[in-house]
């Protein structure tokens, strides 16, 4: 379309581009600040105020060394990786399975779908769920972080819609060849809905990577099972570095180094997700649209 180049249009464009650039700066500035602070000289850091646009003082990786030498933090990292992997594998698998079953032409299809959707509308709430999980022996058990919430109705419905959009001819020809349902699902239908599977997997990864609350109520006494976020809560929110720094560090320079460790652990705990998401972006745009329009 040919656009008239009026003065007001030009002014609008300038403002609009300016606004967008400003917005991007505001989105990035806090993280940039943390990144710069994490490689700053801790003594200079104490004196600094405002956003750091470049490292204060000489660049140092002292903080990162401390973080990566710390058994407690490393253990948290390993735990998080374990929780993310297991719950993503299990969750995605079960979601695909459920979506597949609900998209088949069986007599119980509608009741099953209602059974699943009902859980989206009503829930027992925090305390009854806690009681059920507690009586199942999930307190102080690492399964408590993985199993409850591993699948949810919303993703199942997205998955079901994806399967339903496929032509039934694929399935029929395979059935004539004598393939079982599981086989049809795995080798014929799953490759066709792989972008929806990617969406579900990605959201599960992000959710689990960022989760801290379940661990805080179900694993209160098992620090060895804590995910990274819970350790980060102790350091960043409760402002307590005493359990992370070793005795030697604590005596010498606790304040300064503690401050540095805060920034470093923020970067270490956030960077993996931020590096991964631009690649997943094309999937989650379709995912959100699917969910929003049809869900």
């Amino acid at each position: 379309m040919i656009e008239k180049r009026s003065v007001s249009r030009v002014i609008f464009n300038i403002c609009n581009y300016g606004f967008m650039i400003g917005l991007c700066v505001i989105c990035i500035a806090p993280l940039w600040h943390v990144l710069m602070a994490s490689i700053s000289d801790p003594r200079m850091l104490m004196a600094n105020s405002g956003i750091l646009w470049k490292p204060a003082g000489n660049i140092t990786f002292e903080g990162y060394k401390l973080v990566f030498r710390n058994d407690f933090i490393l253990k948290g990292y390993v735990n998080t990786l374990f929780y993310v992997t297991t719950s993503t594998l299990l969750g995605t698998m079960l979601t695909v399975l459920a979506g597949f079953v609900l998209s088949r032409q069986t007599m119980l299809r509608t009741p099953f779908t209602i059974f699943v959707i009902f859980t989206m509308m009503f829930s027992g709430g925090l305390i009854p769920s806690y009681m059920v999980n507690r009586s199942l022996g999930l307190v102080n058990n690492m399964l408590s972080v993985i199993i409850p919430g591993v699948i949810n109705a919303f993703y199942i419905i997205i998955m079901k819609n994806a399967f339903e959009q496929l032509s039934s001819s694929y399935e029929e020809s395979a059935k004539l060849d004598g393939a079982s349902s599981l086989r049809i699902m795995v080798s014929i239908l799953m490759p066709l809905v792989k972008s929806t599977i990617a969406v579900v997997a990605m959201f599960t990864i992000v959710m689990q990577w960022n989760a801290w609350y379940p661990a805080s109520i179900y694993l209160p006494k098992r620090r060895d099972l804590w995910p990274l976020q819970l350790i980060m809560r102790e350091i960043l929110v409760q402002n307590d570095v005493s359990k992370v720094l070793t005795a030697g560090d604590a005596v010498k320079k606790a304040d300064m180094v503690g401050n540095l460790v805060k920034y470093c652990i923020t970067i270490v705990g956030t960077l993996p997700i931020l590096c991964a998401y631009p690649f997943a972006q094309k999937y989650f745009v379709t995912g959100v649209t699917l969910g929003g329009v049809k869900g």
Binding site: M1, L23, S49, L97, F100, P278, V285
Partner: protein, 309 residues
């Protein structure tokens, strides 16, 4: 199917199960999962009417009728946490929601595709940062020598730790929600705008409608169904406001403005172990939430003839 009409339901079901046994079998794990982790807790709501003791369980705990609810409604904290819940979520809805639409519209006016892509990618970024990190950042930036405090001081506010003063909490919370959700919340509107017919725009342009008029008369009306759907969903979530961020940010000195129903449930239930009472508060919360969803859905059906369900 006509030839099935005479056969009883049970018979037909049996045959269906025999034919599709593998499909039914595949559903068993899903069935078990939802029964244990969704339906059992629903049944567990009975504890809201009990003086619940974990050692006695759901079956042997003493029934106390509505005592837990009465305790909640007569508690002096009731008015406070209800007010906070509604105020924080309504503020958030009224400011954040229109902003995501405006952002989508403004982004649509950007003609350089590459620039647009970059802005989109960057604006989604905060959404993927964990609540713990966000709250860590907030705590730093609003501390007595943080950046945001510095800015406020320039405008004549006294220098203090903003998280210790109850009057700032709503602002801090809503601002952090905008920062985190502006880009991400606009995704659905951006997708919907792309679907708006280009021909309508061209026709209107020929008729002499300027940009603003076209946005107002063409783009916005075509977005209306999506806007209403999202609004209904948001209203349904009014009562479940920002649970984990508030839990991380609040402290006793600002409970006055920051304690909401969900944090009250968590504190009373998990920390103070008043299980029956907090289950009752939770039940109240979800009943009100469901009612809000139903009312807003009915309203949107009446007023705009679109609805979520």
């Amino acid at each position: 199917m006509a030839h099935n009409a005479g056969v009883s339901f049970g018979r037909r079901l049996k045959r269906d199960m025999r034919m599709n046994w593998s499909v039914y079998l595949l559903f068993v794990p899903i069935l078990v999962y939802f029964i244990i982790f969704s339906y059992l807790p629903m049944f567990g709501i009975v504890m809201a009417f009990q003086d619940f003791k974990p050692t006695l369980g759901f079956f042997k705990s003493e029934f106390v009728g509505f005592a837990n609810f009465i305790k909640f409604f007569t508690d002096p904290e009731f008015v406070r946490i209800l007010r906070n819940t509604l105020a924080i979520s309504l503020l958030n809805l009224c400011i954040n929601f229109p902003l995501t639409i405006v952002f989508a519209l403004l982004l649509n006016e950007i003609t350089r595709t590459k620039f647009k892509k970059v802005v989109q990618t960057i604006s989604y970024l905060p959404y993927f940062i964990s609540a713990v990190v966000i709250c860590g950042l907030i705590i730093e930036f609003v501390s007595s020598n943080g950046v945001i405090t510095d800015i406020l001081v320039m405008f004549g506010f006294p220098r203090e730790n903003l998280l210790q003063n109850p009057k700032y909490f709503w602002g801090i919370y809503v601002f952090s929600e905008i920062w985190q959700g502006l880009g991400y919340g606009s995704i659905i509107f951006i997708a919907a705008i792309t679907g708006v017919s280009q021909e309508l725009h061209e026709a209107a342009a020929i008729d002499g409608a300027n940009r603003l008029k076209r946005v107002w008369h063409i783009t916005l009306p075509s977005l209306l169904p999506v806007i209403i759907t999202m609004l209904v969903l948001r209203i349904g979530m009014l009562m479940s406001v920002g649970f984990d961020k508030i839990l991380l940010l609040y402290n006793p000195s600002i409970y006055e403005t920051s304690d909401v129903i969900s944090t009250h449930v968590a504190r009373m239930g998990i920390e103070r172990m008043q299980y029956g009472y907090s289950a009752a508060v939770g039940l109240f919360n979800s009943v009100v939430g469901t009612l809000l969803l139903l009312i807003s859905n009915t309203l949107s059906k009446r007023l705009a003839s679109t609805s979520v369900f």
